[in-house]
């Protein structure tokens, strides 16, 4: 697994508590979202903290609700973290905390079990890709089976994605709300 750093992101004070009626791990004000299906059923949990079982089929549909990021390059990442571990968001300069990128790139958090791993990498954080994924109008998909190897160990699979969004901020970077899959 490759370790990477989001260049230019500013480490800010940790935001540990959930936002009422909102995502526990919010992104920024991007027109970019990730719909989650568990075994074919769309999740509508406001917190984006879900419980899954080994071998559940997780479907992700990355999309732009307002079409503002259609056809833009995007990257999606995962990280394994123990459930309940405090996380700190990296906030883009000029934006309001705590919304930002929650996967831990510091390598110093003992509750974090893996590096930040790109599984779709249009922006090239994990190295240049030839067929770099872009966000299709109507949505781009990814799906996977929850690996049994991480079941029963109080581990969460964190998922978050970033997208090129010209004009949104100083980095032209949209960040969707982070999804936490608590694997039981």
């Amino acid at each position: 697994m490759r370790r990477f750093a989001l260049i230019g992101l500013l480490l800010t004070i940790g935001a540990l508590s959930a936002v009422a009626q909102g995502p526990t791990w919010p992104g920024n004000a991007t027109d970019f979202a990730c719909e989650v299906k568990i075994n074919g059923l769309i999740d509508s949990t406001p917190s984006r903290v879900l419980t899954v079982n080994a071998l559940d089929i997780v479907g992700l549909r990355f999309h732009s609700p307002g079409g503002g990021t259609d056809n833009q390059l995007f990257s999606a990442f995962y990280q394994l973290i123990y459930i309940g571990v405090p996380l700190v968001s990296q906030v883009i300069p000029g934006e309001t905390p705590p919304g930002g990128f929650w996967l831990d790139t510091s390598g110093t958090n003992p509750g974090v079990l893996t590096t930040v791993v790109p599984y779709l990498d249009g922006i090239g954080f994990g190295g240049p890709a030839f067929l770099a994924p872009v966000l299709l109008p109507g949505g781009s998909d990814f799906s996977f089976v929850v690996p049994p190897i991480i079941a029963g160990q109080a581990i969460s699979l964190f998922l978050q994605a970033v997208i090129v969004e010209p004009g949104l901020n100083s980095l032209d970077l949209g960040i969707d709300d982070c999804v936490e899959l608590q694997v039981i």
Partner: protein, 427 residues
Amino acid sequence: MRRITLSVTALLALVVCTTAQSFNFPSFTGTTPATLNGNAFAGGGGVRLAAAMASTKGSLFHNSQFEVVNGFDTTFSFKINVPLGNSGADGMAFVIHNDPRGTTFLGNHAAALGYSAFATSPAGTGVLNALVVEIDTFAGSFGGYADGSSNQLSIHTNGVNEVSHSEGQSLGRVTPTTNMSNNTVHTLRVLYLPGTLSLFLNGAATPTLSVPYSFAGGGTHDLPNTPVGGLSLNNGMAWLGFTASCGGSFEDHDLLSWSFTSLAPPAWPGNSSDFDCEVKVNGTVDATSDRVIGASALDVIGLRFHSPAGGTDSQLFSAFYQLVVTGAALNSLVVPGETPPGGFWLDTTGMNPGALTGVVPYLDGLGLGGGGFLTPLVIPGGFNYGFVVPPSIGGLGLSLMLQALVVDPGLNSLNLGIDDAIELQIN
């Protein structure tokens, strides 16, 4: 880029690449790639092939030839309006030909419908090497054979020779219950599957007329009951278009829309897996059946991996690409026990000089490229992946070959499904 080796028995086969073939004209405008001849003119979103005046005639042909030999499915809408006080005549025709006159062809007027010739005309006035579907609105008699009615569909051919509007050169005819010249829009679908030509009037579920016919072997003139040969095509391709004409009686003949799809087989077929990849280029679904698609640098390519019947839903899959020189010969790897040439066409040998890269997985649920922790699988309804055609490969005569594998339990000895390979020819 990682090179992979598939543990599949290699069986060499070479296939010929054909050209992408389909179009859809919801209406006709100044930019429609077609040639108008004679009295035909465009206006109001349609083409008036022959207006309601004595002895008018006209034709329209698409500017390109299209593959027909392996089957086609075409539908057009038309309207024929008979002026008050006139009995109306003569009708229009859908014409498939490989006559040297190409897009400029136009025959005689009146009962000749713009494709055929009078008895007094010089030899070769009528279209050569053609298959014609008549919408005949005048009951006449020619060459010793009479039309069945003044509201008739009839399929004519004379093999590679000049074809006549005589019913003696018809493979079959029918008088529909619907009046086709009642100033109402009608549709006619012409479906050719090698061995059978079928007509469907106004969306009929069952053929309005169906005759045995193939471009290779021809058919039978039903009234004299004599065989007639097939056509001589240009690598399976022909000119497509319409003719119409009036005689002493007259009517307006309007062509309003036209779509065509060649049923060419995939150039690079996979196996019989219930697994497919739909392609969109800049948001438009590709309708070609040979899966050879033109694309340009920076085009947005959308791929939807899906299981048409659901048989491979939720199964792991891997998708690969390879850059090859356009026109390079490729061989397929065929799963043991399956029928060549269907198989995996991306070159894993490293021996083909036309292959410029290894076989690179960009989605790898099967782990052939090393795999990953989150391994993709086929989502019911489809897995959408999009990418931009890299500018670095534009204008170099390259093709981006795309093919995918899926776990398909019970399909074969490897439980492996293979979709038809897609060739994106990069302009």
